[in-house]
Amino acid sequence: MSNANPPSHGAQANPPAQASPAPTPPPQGKIRIRKKRQWVLITPKSTKQKGMFTYAEFTDDDGLDTWWIVPPQG
Protein backbone atom coordinates (compact mmCIF):
# COMPACT_ATOMS: atom_id res chain seq x y z
CA MET A 1 0.00 0.00 0.00
CA SER A 2 1.23 3.46 -0.79
CA ASN A 3 1.50 5.95 2.00
CA ALA A 4 -0.81 8.92 1.66
CA ASN A 5 1.74 11.20 3.26
CA PRO A 6 3.67 13.37 0.82
CA PRO A 7 7.30 12.69 0.06
CA SER A 8 9.44 14.47 2.60
CA HIS A 9 11.87 15.74 -0.02
CA GLY A 10 10.51 18.21 -2.50
CA ALA A 11 11.01 16.29 -5.72
CA GLN A 12 9.79 18.16 -8.77
CA ALA A 13 7.49 15.39 -9.80
CA ASN A 14 4.21 17.13 -10.55
CA PRO A 15 4.27 19.56 -13.46
CA PRO A 16 2.70 21.25 -15.39
CA ALA A 17 2.98 24.81 -14.21
CA GLN A 18 -0.34 25.82 -15.80
CA ALA A 19 -2.32 23.96 -13.13
CA SER A 20 -3.91 25.93 -10.33
CA PRO A 21 -1.48 26.86 -7.56
CA ALA A 22 -0.70 23.92 -5.39
CA PRO A 23 -1.26 24.33 -1.65
CA THR A 24 1.87 25.02 0.27
CA PRO A 25 3.19 21.88 1.92
CA PRO A 26 2.76 21.98 5.69
CA PRO A 27 5.79 22.71 7.84
CA GLN A 28 7.97 19.82 8.85
CA GLY A 29 6.28 17.58 11.42
CA LYS A 30 2.84 19.05 10.86
CA ILE A 31 -0.19 17.90 8.92
CA ARG A 32 -2.93 19.97 7.44
CA ILE A 33 -6.47 18.71 8.07
CA ARG A 34 -9.86 20.01 7.09
CA LYS A 35 -11.95 20.64 10.17
CA LYS A 36 -15.20 22.57 10.49
CA ARG A 37 -14.74 23.95 6.99
CA GLN A 38 -11.31 25.33 7.77
CA TRP A 39 -7.75 24.19 7.25
CA VAL A 40 -6.06 23.42 10.53
CA LEU A 41 -2.41 22.61 11.10
CA ILE A 42 -1.86 19.90 13.67
CA THR A 43 1.19 18.17 15.10
CA PRO A 44 0.25 14.51 14.84
CA LYS A 45 1.26 12.00 17.47
CA SER A 46 1.07 9.34 14.79
CA THR A 47 -0.61 8.48 11.51
CA LYS A 48 -2.38 5.29 10.57
CA GLN A 49 -3.76 3.77 7.41
CA LYS A 50 -7.27 2.44 8.02
CA GLY A 51 -9.14 0.97 5.11
CA MET A 52 -9.11 3.45 2.25
CA PHE A 53 -8.05 6.38 4.42
CA THR A 54 -5.15 7.78 6.38
CA TYR A 55 -5.82 9.24 9.81
CA ALA A 56 -3.64 11.45 12.00
CA GLU A 57 -3.77 11.23 15.76
CA PHE A 58 -3.79 14.32 17.93
CA THR A 59 -5.44 15.72 21.04
CA ASP A 60 -8.39 17.83 20.00
CA ASP A 61 -9.66 21.02 21.63
CA ASP A 62 -12.13 18.95 23.64
CA GLY A 63 -9.25 17.04 25.21
CA LEU A 64 -10.17 13.78 23.49
CA ASP A 65 -7.69 11.58 21.71
CA THR A 66 -8.76 12.10 18.11
CA TRP A 67 -7.99 10.64 14.72
CA TRP A 68 -8.71 12.86 11.75
CA ILE A 69 -8.73 12.01 8.08
CA VAL A 70 -5.65 13.30 6.27
CA PRO A 71 -6.18 14.79 2.82
CA PRO A 72 -3.35 15.03 0.26
CA GLN A 73 -0.84 17.51 1.64
CA GLY A 74 -0.06 19.39 -1.57
Binding site: K50, Y55, E57, D60, L64, D65, T66, W67, W68, I69
Partner: protein, 321 residues
Protein backbone atom coordinates in the same frame (compact mmCIF):
# COMPACT_ATOMS: atom_id res chain seq x y z
CA UNK B 1 -33.44 11.39 2.12
CA UNK B 2 -30.35 9.24 2.38
CA UNK B 3 -30.64 5.55 3.10
CA UNK B 4 -28.22 2.99 4.38
CA UNK B 5 -28.16 -0.67 3.43
CA UNK B 6 -28.24 -3.33 6.12
CA UNK B 7 -27.07 -6.85 5.34
CA UNK B 8 -27.46 -9.75 7.72
CA UNK B 9 -26.05 -13.19 7.07
CA UNK B 10 -26.94 -16.30 9.02
CA UNK B 11 -24.89 -19.47 9.04
CA UNK B 12 -26.62 -22.24 10.94
CA UNK B 13 -24.95 -25.42 9.77
CA UNK B 14 -24.75 -24.33 6.15
CA UNK B 15 -23.24 -21.15 4.72
CA UNK B 16 -23.96 -19.09 1.64
CA UNK B 17 -20.44 -19.52 0.30
CA UNK B 18 -20.81 -23.32 0.25
CA UNK B 19 -22.44 -24.18 -3.08
CA UNK B 20 -23.75 -27.64 -2.27
CA UNK B 21 -23.04 -28.39 1.37
CA UNK B 22 -23.83 -31.96 2.40
CA UNK B 23 -25.08 -30.91 5.82
CA UNK B 24 -27.52 -33.25 7.54
CA UNK B 25 -28.32 -34.75 10.92
CA UNK B 26 -29.42 -38.25 11.84
CA UNK B 27 -32.88 -38.27 13.42
CA UNK B 28 -33.68 -41.96 13.03
CA UNK B 29 -33.85 -43.07 16.66
CA UNK B 30 -32.93 -46.62 15.65
CA UNK B 31 -29.70 -45.55 14.00
CA UNK B 32 -26.46 -45.97 15.88
CA UNK B 33 -25.46 -42.41 14.99
CA UNK B 34 -28.70 -40.87 16.18
CA UNK B 35 -28.29 -37.20 16.98
CA UNK B 36 -25.13 -36.75 14.95
CA UNK B 37 -24.83 -33.85 12.53
CA UNK B 38 -22.58 -34.16 9.51
CA UNK B 39 -20.80 -31.71 7.23
CA UNK B 40 -21.52 -28.66 9.33
CA UNK B 41 -20.04 -25.82 7.30
CA UNK B 42 -20.45 -23.02 9.82
CA UNK B 43 -22.43 -22.44 12.99
CA UNK B 44 -24.83 -25.04 14.31
CA UNK B 45 -27.88 -26.88 13.04
CA UNK B 46 -31.18 -26.91 14.93
CA UNK B 47 -32.30 -30.17 16.54
CA UNK B 48 -35.62 -30.60 18.36
CA UNK B 49 -35.89 -33.51 20.80
CA UNK B 50 -38.16 -33.12 23.79
CA UNK B 51 -37.49 -36.48 25.43
CA UNK B 52 -34.93 -35.58 28.09
CA UNK B 53 -35.34 -38.92 29.87
CA UNK B 54 -34.10 -41.04 27.00
CA UNK B 55 -31.89 -38.26 25.67
CA UNK B 56 -30.77 -36.04 28.55
CA UNK B 57 -29.79 -32.54 27.70
CA UNK B 58 -26.24 -32.54 26.41
CA UNK B 59 -26.21 -36.22 25.53
CA UNK B 60 -26.81 -36.04 21.79
CA UNK B 61 -23.60 -36.34 19.76
CA UNK B 62 -24.29 -33.03 18.06
CA UNK B 63 -24.66 -31.36 21.43
CA UNK B 64 -21.42 -32.88 22.60
CA UNK B 65 -19.42 -31.63 19.65
CA UNK B 66 -21.30 -28.36 19.43
CA UNK B 67 -22.70 -28.92 15.95
CA UNK B 68 -26.33 -28.36 16.91
CA UNK B 69 -28.53 -26.18 19.04
CA UNK B 70 -30.93 -28.51 20.77
CA UNK B 71 -34.40 -27.48 21.81
CA UNK B 72 -36.27 -29.57 24.35
CA UNK B 73 -39.66 -28.05 23.73
CA UNK B 74 -41.69 -28.06 20.56
CA UNK B 75 -42.91 -24.87 18.97
CA UNK B 76 -45.39 -23.91 16.35
CA UNK B 77 -43.31 -20.98 15.25
CA UNK B 78 -39.91 -20.57 16.82
CA UNK B 79 -38.32 -17.14 16.68
CA UNK B 80 -34.72 -17.89 15.79
CA UNK B 81 -33.50 -14.34 15.50
CA UNK B 82 -34.60 -10.74 15.31
CA UNK B 83 -32.99 -9.39 12.18
CA UNK B 84 -33.79 -5.82 13.08
CA UNK B 85 -36.31 -3.92 15.15
CA UNK B 86 -36.60 -0.20 14.74
CA UNK B 87 -38.75 2.00 16.89
CA UNK B 88 -39.62 5.25 15.22
CA UNK B 89 -37.45 4.55 12.19
CA UNK B 90 -38.71 3.20 8.92
CA UNK B 91 -37.04 0.33 7.12
CA UNK B 92 -37.68 -1.43 3.84
CA UNK B 93 -37.13 -5.13 3.43
CA UNK B 94 -35.62 -5.55 -0.01
CA UNK B 95 -34.23 -9.01 -0.47
CA UNK B 96 -33.68 -12.32 1.13
CA UNK B 97 -32.16 -15.62 0.19
CA UNK B 98 -32.91 -18.61 2.36
CA UNK B 99 -31.63 -22.14 2.01
CA UNK B 100 -32.60 -24.94 4.32
CA UNK B 101 -31.54 -28.54 4.75
CA UNK B 102 -34.17 -30.31 6.81
CA UNK B 103 -35.42 -33.66 7.98
CA UNK B 104 -38.82 -32.80 6.56
CA UNK B 105 -39.44 -34.02 3.04
CA UNK B 106 -41.51 -30.99 2.05
CA UNK B 107 -40.14 -28.11 4.05
CA UNK B 108 -42.12 -25.59 2.09
CA UNK B 109 -45.68 -26.54 1.21
CA UNK B 110 -48.51 -24.90 -0.57
CA UNK B 111 -48.50 -21.82 1.57
CA UNK B 112 -44.72 -21.61 1.17
CA UNK B 113 -43.79 -22.37 4.72
CA UNK B 114 -44.93 -25.53 6.42
CA UNK B 115 -42.69 -27.59 8.64
CA UNK B 116 -39.06 -27.72 9.53
CA UNK B 117 -37.83 -24.52 7.99
CA UNK B 118 -37.05 -20.98 8.96
CA UNK B 119 -38.61 -18.10 7.14
CA UNK B 120 -38.10 -14.35 7.01
CA UNK B 121 -41.11 -12.50 8.30
CA UNK B 122 -42.10 -8.99 9.17
CA UNK B 123 -43.24 -8.78 12.74
CA UNK B 124 -45.76 -8.74 14.21
CA UNK B 125 -48.75 -10.52 12.88
CA UNK B 126 -48.05 -11.11 9.24
CA UNK B 127 -47.92 -14.72 8.17
CA UNK B 128 -45.57 -16.36 5.74
CA UNK B 129 -47.84 -15.78 2.79
CA UNK B 130 -47.60 -12.02 3.12
CA UNK B 131 -46.07 -11.84 -0.32
CA UNK B 132 -48.57 -14.09 -2.05
CA UNK B 133 -52.15 -13.22 -2.98
CA UNK B 134 -53.67 -16.02 -0.90
CA UNK B 135 -52.66 -18.82 1.40
CA UNK B 136 -53.42 -21.51 -1.16
CA UNK B 137 -51.86 -19.71 -4.07
CA UNK B 138 -49.67 -21.96 -6.19
CA UNK B 139 -50.54 -24.76 -3.86
CA UNK B 140 -49.67 -27.61 -6.17
CA UNK B 141 -46.93 -26.08 -8.20
CA UNK B 142 -43.91 -26.24 -5.98
CA UNK B 143 -41.25 -25.23 -6.87
CA UNK B 144 -42.68 -21.94 -7.91
CA UNK B 145 -41.71 -18.72 -9.54
CA UNK B 146 -44.11 -15.85 -9.06
CA UNK B 147 -42.97 -13.01 -11.29
CA UNK B 148 -45.33 -10.50 -9.70
CA UNK B 149 -44.02 -10.90 -6.20
CA UNK B 150 -40.60 -11.91 -7.48
CA UNK B 151 -40.57 -14.99 -5.35
CA UNK B 152 -38.55 -17.91 -6.56
CA UNK B 153 -38.40 -21.27 -4.84
CA UNK B 154 -36.61 -24.53 -5.49
CA UNK B 155 -37.19 -27.97 -4.11
CA UNK B 156 -34.15 -30.24 -3.94
CA UNK B 157 -31.83 -28.42 -6.34
CA UNK B 158 -29.27 -30.91 -5.06
CA UNK B 159 -29.56 -33.90 -2.78
CA UNK B 160 -28.20 -34.66 0.65
CA UNK B 161 -27.76 -38.01 2.35
CA UNK B 162 -30.79 -37.55 4.58
CA UNK B 163 -33.63 -35.06 4.35
CA UNK B 164 -34.34 -32.48 1.70
CA UNK B 165 -33.15 -29.13 0.43
CA UNK B 166 -35.19 -26.04 -0.34
CA UNK B 167 -34.20 -22.58 -1.49
CA UNK B 168 -36.31 -19.45 -1.56
CA UNK B 169 -35.34 -16.11 -2.94
CA UNK B 170 -37.45 -13.01 -2.77
CA UNK B 171 -36.83 -9.44 -3.72
CA UNK B 172 -39.14 -6.50 -3.55
CA UNK B 173 -40.14 -3.59 -1.38
CA UNK B 174 -41.88 -4.07 1.89
CA UNK B 175 -42.04 -1.43 4.58
CA UNK B 176 -41.32 -3.33 7.74
CA UNK B 177 -39.86 -1.74 10.87
CA UNK B 178 -39.28 -5.17 12.41
CA UNK B 179 -38.19 -8.35 10.67
CA UNK B 180 -37.59 -11.69 12.32
CA UNK B 181 -36.29 -15.06 11.28
CA UNK B 182 -38.77 -17.64 12.44
CA UNK B 183 -38.72 -21.42 12.28
CA UNK B 184 -41.96 -23.08 11.22
CA UNK B 185 -42.01 -26.29 13.20
CA UNK B 186 -45.71 -27.00 13.61
CA UNK B 187 -45.08 -28.50 17.05
CA UNK B 188 -43.23 -31.47 15.62
CA UNK B 189 -40.66 -33.33 17.64
CA UNK B 190 -37.46 -35.07 16.55
CA UNK B 191 -36.79 -32.80 13.60
CA UNK B 192 -33.67 -30.98 12.55
CA UNK B 193 -32.83 -28.25 10.13
CA UNK B 194 -29.76 -26.35 9.04
CA UNK B 195 -29.95 -23.10 7.12
CA UNK B 196 -28.21 -20.07 5.80
CA UNK B 197 -29.78 -16.81 4.88
CA UNK B 198 -28.90 -13.40 3.55
CA UNK B 199 -31.28 -10.55 4.25
CA UNK B 200 -30.97 -7.04 2.86
CA UNK B 201 -32.92 -3.98 3.89
CA UNK B 202 -32.73 -0.22 3.69
CA UNK B 203 -33.19 2.29 6.48
CA UNK B 204 -33.01 6.01 6.96
CA UNK B 205 -29.48 7.28 7.41
CA UNK B 206 -29.09 8.33 11.02
CA UNK B 207 -26.67 8.34 13.91
CA UNK B 208 -25.77 4.73 14.65
CA UNK B 209 -25.18 2.75 17.81
CA UNK B 210 -22.44 0.27 17.02
CA UNK B 211 -22.65 -2.42 19.64
CA UNK B 212 -23.43 -6.10 19.08
CA UNK B 213 -26.32 -6.91 21.38
CA UNK B 214 -28.44 -9.89 22.22
CA UNK B 215 -31.95 -8.83 21.35
CA UNK B 216 -33.74 -10.59 24.19
CA UNK B 217 -31.28 -10.00 27.01
CA UNK B 218 -29.39 -6.83 26.18
CA UNK B 219 -31.75 -4.75 24.14
CA UNK B 220 -35.42 -5.56 24.50
CA UNK B 221 -35.62 -5.12 28.30
CA UNK B 222 -34.21 -1.58 28.24
CA UNK B 223 -36.71 1.07 27.29
CA UNK B 224 -33.89 3.64 27.33
CA UNK B 225 -32.10 1.83 24.54
CA UNK B 226 -35.21 1.30 22.47
CA UNK B 227 -35.99 4.99 22.76
CA UNK B 228 -32.47 5.93 21.72
CA UNK B 229 -31.82 3.58 18.81
CA UNK B 230 -33.11 0.57 16.92
CA UNK B 231 -31.72 -2.95 17.04
CA UNK B 232 -30.05 -4.91 14.24
CA UNK B 233 -28.36 -8.29 14.40
CA UNK B 234 -25.38 -6.82 12.56
CA UNK B 235 -24.64 -4.60 15.56
CA UNK B 236 -24.10 -1.70 13.18
CA UNK B 237 -27.34 -0.81 11.45
CA UNK B 238 -28.88 0.57 14.62
CA UNK B 239 -30.22 4.03 13.82
CA UNK B 240 -31.28 6.59 16.37
CA UNK B 241 -32.34 10.20 16.28
CA UNK B 242 -29.45 11.87 18.04
CA UNK B 243 -25.85 10.81 18.59
CA UNK B 244 -25.63 12.41 22.03
CA UNK B 245 -28.79 10.59 23.16
CA UNK B 246 -27.28 7.31 22.01
CA UNK B 247 -24.03 8.03 23.85
CA UNK B 248 -25.90 8.97 27.03
CA UNK B 249 -28.03 5.82 26.95
CA UNK B 250 -25.08 3.53 26.29
CA UNK B 251 -22.94 5.16 29.00
CA UNK B 252 -25.79 4.66 31.41
CA UNK B 253 -26.50 1.01 30.63
CA UNK B 254 -23.24 -0.39 29.32
CA UNK B 255 -20.46 1.49 31.15
CA UNK B 256 -18.23 -1.59 31.15
CA UNK B 257 -18.71 -2.74 27.59
CA UNK B 258 -17.11 -1.52 24.40
CA UNK B 259 -19.25 0.37 21.92
CA UNK B 260 -19.10 3.05 19.28
CA UNK B 261 -21.49 5.72 18.09
CA UNK B 262 -21.42 7.18 14.61
CA UNK B 263 -22.63 10.75 14.22
CA UNK B 264 -23.74 10.91 10.60
CA UNK B 265 -24.07 14.70 10.67
CA UNK B 266 -20.57 15.54 11.89
CA UNK B 267 -19.20 12.31 10.34
CA UNK B 268 -17.48 11.48 13.60
CA UNK B 269 -17.13 8.02 15.06
CA UNK B 270 -17.02 7.99 18.87
CA UNK B 271 -15.26 5.10 20.58
CA UNK B 272 -15.88 3.93 24.13
CA UNK B 273 -13.60 1.36 25.75
CA UNK B 274 -12.04 1.11 22.32
CA UNK B 275 -9.07 2.49 20.46
CA UNK B 276 -8.53 3.02 16.76
CA UNK B 277 -6.63 -0.29 16.63
CA UNK B 278 -9.84 -2.22 17.27
CA UNK B 279 -11.89 -0.55 14.56
CA UNK B 280 -11.85 -2.89 11.54
CA UNK B 281 -10.93 -1.52 8.13
CA UNK B 282 -14.23 -2.67 6.64
CA UNK B 283 -16.14 -0.56 9.16
CA UNK B 284 -14.00 2.47 8.32
CA UNK B 285 -14.69 1.90 4.63
CA UNK B 286 -18.41 1.53 5.27
CA UNK B 287 -18.78 4.65 7.42
CA UNK B 288 -15.90 6.75 6.05
CA UNK B 289 -15.71 8.91 9.18
CA UNK B 290 -13.92 12.23 8.94
CA UNK B 291 -12.90 12.00 12.57
CA UNK B 292 -12.67 9.30 15.22
CA UNK B 293 -12.76 10.35 18.87
CA UNK B 294 -11.91 8.18 21.84
CA UNK B 295 -14.37 8.90 24.65
CA UNK B 296 -12.67 6.37 26.89
CA UNK B 297 -9.73 4.04 26.32
CA UNK B 298 -10.18 0.42 27.34
CA UNK B 299 -8.76 -0.51 30.72
CA UNK B 300 -9.04 -4.14 29.67
CA UNK B 301 -8.20 -5.04 26.10
CA UNK B 302 -10.43 -8.11 26.23
CA UNK B 303 -13.48 -5.83 26.33
CA UNK B 304 -12.42 -4.15 23.11
CA UNK B 305 -11.44 -7.44 21.52
CA UNK B 306 -14.85 -8.92 22.33
CA UNK B 307 -16.52 -6.03 20.52
CA UNK B 308 -14.34 -6.55 17.47
CA UNK B 309 -14.81 -10.32 17.44
CA UNK B 310 -18.58 -10.01 17.68
CA UNK B 311 -18.72 -7.44 14.89
CA UNK B 312 -16.56 -9.57 12.63
CA UNK B 313 -18.60 -12.69 13.25
CA UNK B 314 -21.88 -10.91 12.57
CA UNK B 315 -20.59 -9.17 9.47
CA UNK B 316 -18.50 -11.67 7.53
CA UNK B 317 -16.63 -9.80 4.83
CA UNK B 318 -15.07 -12.60 2.86
CA UNK B 319 -16.66 -15.29 0.77
CA UNK B 320 -15.76 -18.02 3.22
CA UNK B 321 -12.96 -19.51 5.26
Amino acid sequence: MVFNTGIAQYYYGTAVYAITPGTYCQNNTSASDYGTCYNIVAGQAVFVQTDTTTYPTGSLPCEKNNTCIRYTTTAGLRTLSTVYSYSGKQAILQYFWLRVHTSTTTPFGGNISSVGSPFVRPDPGINSYWFLPAQTYEQSSWPIYDPVTNLKAYQNPYTISLGSVAIIRWQGTLFAPTVILQGTENNQNNIWYAYDSKIIWAYESSPLAIIPLDFNNDYAPYRELRNAFGYAVTGIDQPGWNAQDIIAALQDIFPNRAWAVYDDVQKILYLYNLTMDYVPDWLINKLAPVGVKVLQSPSDSSTAQAWLNALNSRNPQAGGP
